[in-house]
Assembly symmetry: C2
Homo-oligomer: 206 residues x 2
């Protein structure tokens, strides 16, 4: 089962995910199961080191649109690259380097788009209902002044805008991925099981 | 792993699919593997019998928009229900009856939307790249005067319009389904394997 034309290169699972869907956990558990590295926090650290920005800044600005970004067209770039553009260039290069280095799981940061045609990728999208995600973010990050639903809607909007701007892809459009999984319904472990089996090409192709 | 709140009812796999993605074959093979009926041609036959329309007419009009339907808003309903509305009402009732009757696989016809909250459904969406689908429809249905890409684009447009009109859902939006599979990349048998395993709840939930 060839995921990409370039089947000589390292096999990589890219995980795009809705905030609160457990996509990061699925990436981590899948990588553990496969015995390969999962780049998420590490990736942020690398980008922070190379960019000189704080890790927390990279975490926030590295995949979600900010401020005027909800309407990228009005974002002022007459002064040249924004910080986010700088981050994009650095994280793009780091992701390409990591893909060269060896098999791995990469969570978020448009890795699916960056590696398209350049690596043997299995691109997954993880999502869940608003209800499931709201329960999860309260459990993971605690209560906030803003309701979890509102936090999720804002995050979804910013992530979609970021993706539209840098990849020109519609966020959540199934056809952008090889597999899309509703983690709220199927369960985290089911998603891990499916992805690791696909990685190993356990199932016969037609 | 509960797909729907109503886990007491029959388990049903609904398959929505892009034209040429092999979704029908996946539904048929999955049903065979599970030893349950697959309603596709049979469903069309039932609707034809109850509506009095020819099976071929039902096949064409039962899930794709026609004529002005690409812009449903300008479709004239001042004279009451259209033939498609009549078909919708009949096929909706038949799908609800089939879901009551026993476990099954239902291909197309908005079964996922019709059975939402009414049955223990696993809703799957099957799609593939334009290139894979073009090769498939030429193999399945032969060459036509119109290029396969053009036939697919038109079919996609009509199916999306039909869904938007009757279900108010965005066609191909991952969040509408429990699982979305790129049959062109993963292969027909892999899709069958994943769906039948999920049906049997073989994989442990988190």
């Amino acid at each position: 089962m060839a995921f990409q034309p370039n089947s000589a290169s390292n096999r990589i699972i890219t995980i795009s995910r809705e905030f609160g869907s457990g996509g990061r956990t699925i990436g981590k558990k899948t990588a553990e199961k496969l015995g390969i590295p999962c780049y998420d926090a590490q990736l942020i650290q690398k980008i922070a080191e190379e960019s000189g920005f704080a890790a927390d800044y990279v975490r926030k600005e590295g995949e979600d649109a900010v401020g005027g970004w909800i309407f990228p067209i009005i974002t002022d770039r007459t002064m040249g690259m924004t910080n986010q553009d700088t981050l994009w260039v650095i994280q793009r290069r780091i992701i390409l380097e990591l893909a060269e280095k060896g098999p791995c799981v990469i969570v978020g940061r448009c890795a699916d788009f960056i590696l398209r045609g350049k690596a043997d990728c299995l691109n997954a999208f993880i999502y869940a209902s608003m209800e499931c995600r709201a329960a999860r973010i309260v459990k993971e990050y605690g209560e906030r002044e803003q309701s979890p639903e509102r936090r999720l809607k804002e995050k979804d909007k910013r992530r979609a805008a970021y993706h539209r701007f840098y990849t020109d892809m519609t966020w959540g459009h199934a056809q952008n991925y090889h597999i899309c999984l509703d983690s709220g319904t199927l369960g985290i472990n089911t998603c891990v099981e499916i992805l690791s089996r696909l990685y190993h090409k356990e199932v016969i192709q037609a």
